[in-house]
């Protein structure tokens, strides 16, 4: 049989998911996809993050190149205008014709704009696509007030976007409350309180009758109650309407209130045409979320299998959601308002902390029917699992939503969940899938994430995922052994806390008081880890006698050991800015000691091939020329890379070099669980590659954007945008807190990126800790950082001035000879270590 010709109309989130699922399957198909928007599918759910600095490239879910690689014929920027069912082909506005065996409609929906007189003027906009964002931004530029029409989920998100653009945001809602679809009255009132407290003006029960020219501002809205409101712009977010015109014109059945009718197999009234996503209606219901859209896509793909066993149906989907709107946690599960006849409600409302929770249970009190949560979603995961898996409630269901008076609230053990329980709804990962991944060898949450994609969508399931993984590992007797090594039955974080709280200042004391056997020596795992903890906490010189034996050789000799036992020397060059005389001095030292010199990837110079016994003299010379140690050998700050910035560059908006130098001088010498790197770029062109660093700073017109937890290296990770438009003082405060929190809680040798991937609660949690001080530790973190900054010393300077320390660098304790195994040859005018063959040859020569 020849390959099926599949044509997909629409390349939104769901259309793309269909294409990818089909391409990944065993079904032989020639796939064509036609998207009306000028770009391939992107993540519409996170659209508003573009206002926080995300680029449209970062939202992309695929690329033209990717489609080419998987042999998908993709066309963008051309709408399908007509379906010819007889000829089995579609025709685009641009006149292209594509024949199909099976057609898939994934046209999504468009924002409903109520036909209020005056709605079609300039600065009356919609909010659905990347292009819409551009228009909103342009319209908001330099203006004061923006109105969103519609107080639903999208409307509130849009209000947040306007607020981020610096406008005074107003929400105008026709109904008496906000988010009327998801929330009951109590929840809606609490949400309003919280949102108003954030400075968003809320107007409910307002029917707009006319939009006219404003007197002071651009536009004026006139309401039915004779009030009016002036504004610079209006964004409509009053609901969505399915794109079903194509289907109507082709005489496919459509729903009473729009939407292309489908059956459980996602087939329309024509057996060869499917409809999926937001354009489809199943039993009067349009599913306006991505997860159900994805399930439809998968169901529709499965219909192409010959074998009935492989076909799956779409019979509806859970519409529970958990979101953060303007920073407010909102959750809605199942029958959230308690509409069902026998529903019994428990309601908890706390007007001081502004928390509202409602739990609807069956008449016998045994099952969860639904819930509403505003201001605190910590119970969401547990309640959702009870709801989805029909688990029996405890005798006192109210305990599920009441604040814990003593001890922790009852959470649902991972063991109580059935294998079919959905853990991650974004990627449709069940407990069974996770168990399978662990059977297949996954040992950590990060492994399971990589294998199943769980928790890589909205991230809402991260905590639950961790519970399941931990439980599964433990139940297999693979006790999740987090002990650092055989000598301490503690994690690195535990050891840090112990040392900090009991003021322990040496390895021996820690071993004696807290070691598994108090007379153990320790090993090459725990010794450097403890040395690093001691350094982060107390910041003594690394070569003090109580620390010296703990260090890796690189720290002991404050240089990086090379393969032949010689060392490299990297002086610090803060921000990469260097005086001509310093360049000359570097060259002179390299010449005097016969060192190989190379510019590193970190904007400084590395001198290789130094013999151990020469290190103190080399460093004396460098220190005389004004250099300090660059900590190339330490788990500590490496470099702060800079771009030239506003001083010289025609695009720069801030002095990135100056900022980089200040940061490097502030954090130099700070020991951490692993090395960390920073960079500062002078504008969004990002010449310093800040988004690949543990801490990245990018200049904006108004200050600095801070990015965290990026990584190059073996597993690159794009940094996350952490905060925007900071002044320098706030920037430093956040970095101080961030770094100290990382140092306190990370495992040994865990870069910030890996630490972050394993951090329960993810970015939101980290922001809460660092920005909102949710753990109440920020003052302590800052004062710890201040201590490290105040006690900084150039380790090499201290060492070369201390005879005892210099003694350590003798090659032999009983001879002045040098290591006869260190042999160099010349290449391109510099030295390099001899190869085996060359070495043997030269040793033979020496003997003869």
């Amino acid at each position: 049989m020849s390959a099926l010709k599949i044509v997909v109309v629409g390349n939104g989130m769901v259309g793309h998911h269909y294409v990818q699922t089909l391409a990944d399957s065993t079904i032989e198909a020639d796939i064509t996809v036609i998207g009306g928007e000028p770009r391939p599918a992107y993540d519409r759910v996170h659209l508003s993050e573009v206002f926080d600095g995300k680029t449209s490239a970062e939202l992309a879910m695929t690329t033209r190149e990717h489609y080419e690689e998987i042999s998908v014929d993709a066309h963008f920027g051309d709408f399908v205008a007509k379906i010819d069912r007889q000829a089995k082909q579609v025709i685009t506005e641009g006149g292209q014709v594509f024949a199909y065996d099976k057609l898939v409609l994934a046209t999504g929906s468009y924002p409903f704009i109520p036909p209020i007189p005056g709605y079609d003027q300039e600065h009356c906009l919609a909010y659905r696509t990347i292009d819409d964002l551009g228009e909103i931004k342009a319209s908001a530029k330099g203006k004061k007030i923006g109105v969103v029409v519609g107080g639903g989920l999208l409307g509130l998100e849009c209000a947040n976007a306007l607020k981020n653009l610096g406008l005074e945001a107003h929400v105008v809602e026709f109904a008496p409350g906000l988010m009327g679809v998801q929330l009951d009255d109590g929840g809606s009132v609490m949400l309003r309180r919280k949102i108003e407290a954030l400075g968003v003006k809320v107007h409910t029960s307002k029917a707009t009758q006319k939009i006219t020219q404003g007197d002071q501002l651009r536009l004026k809205m006139e309401f039915a109650d004779d009030t009016e409101l002036e504004t610079d712009m209006i964004v409509f977010s009053a609901g969505i309407r399915p794109y079903d015109q194509l289907a109507r014109d082709a005489d496919l059945k459509v729903g009473e209130r729009g939407g292309i009718e489908i059956d459980y197999h996602c087939r329309t009234s024509d057996q060869d045409i499917f409809a999926i996503g937001e354009c489809a209606v199943l039993g009067k219901f349009i599913y306006g979320l991505v997860a159900p859209g994805y399930r439809m896509a998968e169901a529709a793909v499965s219909q192409l299998h010959d074998n009935d066993d492989q076909k799956v149906s779409f019979t509806g989907s859970d519409m529970s959601t958990k979101l953060k709107l303007l920073g407010v946690d909102v959750g809605s599960i199942g029958d959230s308002k308690g509409n069902a006849e026998n529903s019994r409600a428990f309601v908890f409302s706390d007007e001081r902390d502004e928390v509202y929770k409602r739990l609807n249970v069956s008449a016998d009190g045994k099952k969860v029917l639904g819930a509403t949560l505003v201001g605190d979603c910590s119970d969401y995961d547990t309640l959702l699992q009870y709801y989805l898996n029909d688990i029996d409630l405890p005798d006192n269901p109210e305990a599920m939503i009441l604040p814990a008076v003593d001890g922790a609230a009852p959470t649902l053990g991972a063991d109580a969940l059935p294998m079919t329980a959905s853990i991650c709804s974004c990627h449709n990962v069940t407990k069974g899938d996770i168990v399978q991944a662990i059977d297949g060898g996954c040992m950590t949450v990060a492994d399971v994430k990589g294998e199943t994609s769980a928790a890589t969508g909205c991230g809402g399931c991260a905590a639950l995922l961790k519970n399941v993984v931990d439980f599964e590992l433990e139940s297999r007797g693979m006790e999740v052994n987090t002990d650092i090594c055989e000598h301490f039955k503690y994690t690195r974080q535990d050891l840090y806390t112990i040392a900090q709280s009991t003021q322990i200042k040496s390895f021996d004391e820690l071993m004696e008081k807290h070691g598994a056997h108090k007379d153990s020596l320790g090993c090459d795992i725990c010794k450097p880890a403890v040395a690093s903890i001691m350094a982060s906490l107390w910041n003594d010189h690394v070569l003090e006698s109580q620390h010296v034996g703990l260090q890796d050789t690189n720290d002991t000799f404050m240089a990086n050991m090379q393969k032949d036992g010689t060392y490299s020397v990297i002086p610090r060059v803060p921000g990469g800015e260097i005086l001509p005389d310093q360049l000359i001095a570097l060259g002179q030292v390299a010449k005097d000691y016969g060192l190989y010199s190379k510019i590193t990837g970190g904007q400084r110079v590395d001198l290789f091939g130094a013999r151990m016994n020469d290190l103190p003299d080399i460093w004396s010379a460098l220190i005389d020329a004004g250099f300090e140690t660059g900590h190339g050998y330490a788990k500590a700050l490496r470099t702060v890379k800079s771009c030239v910035g506003s001083t010289w560059c025609r695009y720069g908006v801030q002095d990135s070099v100056g900022q980089a130098i200040d940061l490097e001088n502030r954090y130099k010498g700070l020991r951490a669980p692993h090395k960390f790197k920073m960079a500062v770029s002078g504008c969004t062109r990002e010449c310093a590659e800040a988004q690949s660093k543990d801490v990245g700073v990018i200049a904006t017109e108004n200050g600095w954007n801070l990015y965290v937890c990026g990584n190059g290296g073996m597993k690159p990770r794009h940094a996350d945008l952490f905060a925007t438009d900071l002044d320098t003082e706030t920037l430093l405060k956040y970095i101080d807190r961030f770094l100290m929190f990382y140092i306190r809680t990370a495992d040994r040798l865990q870069r910030t990126s890996v630490w972050f991937e394993n951090l329960e609660g993810g970015l939101e949690y980290l922001k809460d800790v660092v920005i909102n001080d949710s753990l109440g530790i920020c003052e302590e973190l800052e004062s710890q950082m201040q201590h490290v900054i105040d006690t900084y010393q150039c380790e090499w300077k201290t060492a070369v001035n201390d005879k005892e320390k210099v003694k350590r660098f003798r090659q032999f304790v009983n001879s002045d000879q040098e290591d006869s195994n260190v042999i160099f040859v010349e290449e391109r005018g510099q030295i390099r270590p001899a190869t085996d063959v060359e070495r043997k040859r030269s040793q033979l020569k020496a003997v003869s």
């Binding site: 055989e486 090993c523 090459d524 725990c526 006698s545 010296v548 304790v813």
Partner: protein, 112 residues
């Protein structure tokens, strides 16, 4: 072999290693030995070859010392394999390196 003085106790570094040159009759065949000083153990001093046969460099005196259960070991600073200080046996591999009988007498360290 007679007792040969290698260095002073003050040349050693507690809980760490140093390197000494063992002069043999012919200077060209001199051997590098790594001497570890562990004051809390019964033996107190240990001597093994300084040559790391896996990393192929004279570096073992610069490794971290420790114990794996009862075994006293040094971890090579190059690729972290462990060598027993008492027997020279490599923990991860079939390789064994040379050990030397060593002792402290008063202020001095001797090879026997």
């Amino acid at each position: 072999m007679s007792k040969q003085k290698i260095c002073h106790v003050s040349d050693l570094i507690p809980n760490s290693g140093v390197c000494a040159l063992l002069e043999t009759s012919h200077n060209k065949n001199s051997e590098q030995i790594a001497i570890f000083y562990l004051p809390t153990t019964a033996e107190k001093v240990f001597a093994i070859s300084n040559w790391d046969p896996i990393g192929e460099a004279n570096v073992l005196s610069r490794g971290i010392v420790g114990n794996i259960e009862e075994e006293l070991v040094v971890a090579s600073p190059l690729y972290k394999q462990h060598f027993s200080l008492r027997t020279g046996q490599c923990v991860e591999d079939e390789i064994k390196i040379k050990t030397y009988p060593v002792s402290i007498d008063g202020e001095n360290v001797y090879l026997n």
